[in-house]
């Protein structure tokens, strides 16, 4: 696709006009790979700003230079500024004699409950005992979904040396206040010396004010150690709005100077998008928060870390 720019070989100073056609192409290319349109534009603008006035090397083309610069920017966006080490933090909490609490939130159907179960599997494999708090008290079957996972996970992992189940479910059925159930679950975990509490919440649209308020309350009163936003790799331009509004709601309804915001992202359904990997860029660009896990399928072992280089290669391919 960059062949038409090959003729620009030669040492020269890059002007806006030189860059424009290559940047336009590049912008369309990454939009096609599912990067949100306005983020694609911003990325290309930043590439332009970096390159304008630079001298083009003798053997490089404008297109290649643009591509290389964009590649560096994207790797930079995806590489976590801050490591989230769940195992270490959970161990630290254990030593302090309190449970490590993770809350999962996001819009409807993105994979919160399923990836919660995968993360539960991973924690058990690492020797932690887990309590799942069923705080989606709205969607039909939500509690039974978690009960099924709890049963399957216990079948895969024998009880510990004290005969305790590796995972338990804390549920109070449907229609109850989610924040209250989360609190009871955390207290239960503390009393029973369970290491980690995974709080499942109902899916909600980022514009649904009452539901966003309820989520903020859950997070405010329970102060989890980690707030994970779950988003699917299938999402298009909405990724930006979802993350902004979830963060905004957490900030607005907290009445605190230092509110708890989203700490990290779980990017799900990565197995369904081929090379249209743009959502990873949209999400990290929007929040500056790391992608902590990538969901790559529907079984417990389909959980990965993000490989920034591989994602960027797929993006620019």
């Amino acid at each position: 696709m960059f062949s038409m720019f090959k003729n620009l070989v030669g040492s020269k100073t890059l002007t806006k006009e030189d860059l424009q056609p290559a940047l336009e192409k590049m912008k369309e290319h990454i939009i096609g790979k599912n990067v949100a349109a306005d983020i694609s534009a911003k990325l290309c603008d930043s590439v332009a700003a970096k390159l304008e006035g630079k001298v083009l090397g003798t053997f490089s083309t404008t297109a290649n230079t643009v591509k290389q610069t964009l590649q560096d920017s994207c790797v930079n966006i995806l590489e976590p500024k801050r490591r989230i080490d769940i195992l270490r933090d959970a161990m630290e909490c254990k030593q302090k004699g309190r449970p490590y609490v993770v809350t999962f939130c996001g819009v409807n159907g993105v994979g919160k409950s399923t990836n919660l179960a995968k993360i539960c599997f991973w924690l058990i494999e690492n020797g932690f005992r887990v309590l799942i708090a069923a705080c989606d008290t709205f969607r039909a079957g939500a509690v039974e979904q978690l009960r099924t996972h709890t049963r399957k996970l216990n079948a895969l992992h024998p009880p510990d040396k004290n005969g305790q189940h590796m995972v338990q479910l804390y549920e109070k059925g449907y229609g109850k206040d989610a924040a209250g159930i989360a609190m009871e679950a955390i207290n239960f975990a503390r009393d029973c010396h369970i290491d980690v509490v995974l709080v499942d919440t109902a899916g909600r649209m980022q514009d649904n004010e009452p539901l966003m308020r309820a989520l903020s309350k859950l997070i405010k009163v329970n102060q989890p150690d980690l707030v994970l936003f779950v988003g699917e790799a299938l999402v298009g331009n909405e990724a930006v709005d979802q993350l902004n509004k979830f963060n905004q709601a957490l900030a607005d309804h907290s009445n605190m100077t230092n509110p708890r915001l989203i700490d990290g992202i779980v990017l799900t359904k990565f197995d369904t998008i081929d090379d249209k990997v743009g959502a990873a860029i949209s999400m990290t660009y929007t929040t500056g928060q790391p992608i902590v896990f990538v969901g790559t399928g529907q079984t417990y072992t389909d959980l990965r870390n993000l490989n920034a280089k591989a994602v960027v290669n797929a993006l620019l391919k």
Binding site: E28, I31, G32, K33, N34, A37, D38, V107, N108, G109, V110, G111, S113, T114, A117, F138, R139, A140, G141, A142, V143, E144, Q145, L146, R147, T148, H149, K152, M205, Q206, D207, N208, E232, A233, L234, V235, G236, N237, E238, A239, D241, Q242, K245, K269, D271, T272, I273, D274, K276, G278, A279, Q298
Partner: protein
């Protein structure tokens, strides 16, 4: 309104034509750029957007065209035509027949809203007096049968499913046979979420389709989906005979343009939209009125037919 933002942007781009004193290539390109940007922001598939741009350009020949008014009309009409093409596959919507069994099978990606929408559709027909039922042919997703069962019970809709049978093909067959025997008119089959990358899941879908012999296969698409929609939709269509599309989660902020590419890919019309999690958050969808509303124009039909 659904896609309202997009409609507003397109209308304003078209207005730029009326405001320009002369209409030349530059004005046309400026307008097309605006329209295409709006479509891309709404997640419309990039290839469809490029095609729209090229098709509009190819109709307009500035050298041959007469006065300003005519040019304006021609450009507007070309844009309308292309937009309608995006939303309207030009085939008639499937409708059930009274007094006999109509089997409707739901398919789609994971989490798109199939199970919820199955109940909504069943409730919709039941309210209209059809003898309606639901079958849960999802044995994969944890809690899937409980989900359908709770929805169906609440709405007093007869249902069929199993906690022990693990083969969805068996359940689908048994359920459809049973309800056909009992003369149900609308028999809705819910299936597991799946994606084209996993052959075994697609094969399973084909088998469920073969044993239930559906009169209508509905592809359920989430309004937030981006550029990956088109290839998934096409793959579903290639495997089973998708005849209708339902777009869900339009109560959110999403503009639903990505889901629209499912229309082009499956050559099937959008028949309903989902606008919330409750069973009555559901609306029939009619293409033509939608397009006119979208563009805020009463007279587009007149423009298009010429």
């Amino acid at each position: 309104m659904v896609l309202a933002d997009l409609g507003r942007k397109i209308t304003s781009a078209l207005k730029s034509l009326s405001n320009a004193t002369i209409i030349n290539e530059e004005v046309l390109n400026g307008m097309l750029k605006e329209i295409c940007a709006a479509l891309l922001e709404a997640d419309v598939n990039i290839f469809l957007v490029k095609r729209l741009r090229e098709n509009v350009r190819s109709v307009i020949d500035f050298d041959e065209m007469a006065g300003g008014l005519n040019k304006r009309r021609m450009i507007q009409s070309a844009v309308y035509k292309e937009l309608v093409k995006l939303i309207d596959p030009g085939v008639k919507q499937w409708t059930p027949t009274k007094g006999r069994s109509n089997v409707i099978m739901f398919v789609g990606l994971q989490g798109s809203g199939k199970t919820t929408t199955c109940s909504k559709l069943a409730y919709y027909y039941q309210k209209k007096g059809w003898k309606t039922c639901l079958i849960c042919a999802d044995t994969f997703r944890a809690g899937a049968f409980d989900q359908l069962k709770q929805n169906a019970t609440k709405a007093r809709i007869p249902f069929y499913g199993s906690y022990t049978e693990i083969d969805p093909v068996v359940i689908a067959q048994e359920g459809v046979d049973k309800f056909r025997d009992e003369n149900f008119e609308i028999i809705i089959v819910d299936t597991s979420g799946r994606h084209k990358q996993e052959d075994s899941l697609f094969e399973e879908m084909l088998q469920v389709s073969n044993v239930t012999d559906p009169d209508n296969v509905i592809f359920v698409m989430d309004a937030t989906i981006g550029q990956a929609c088109e290839s998934q939709a096409r793959a579903f269509k290639e495997k089973v005979d998708v005849a209708s599309v339902i777009i869900t989660k339009l109560d959110g902020h999403a503009k639903g343009g990505g889901a629209l590419s499912a229309v082009a890919a499956t050559k099937s019309p959008v028949i309903f939209i989902g606008t919330g999690e409750h069973i009555d958050d559901f609306e029939p969808f009619k293409v033509q009125p939608f397009v006119s509303k979208l563009l805020g124009m009463g007279d587009i039909e007149g423009l298009i037919d010429k």
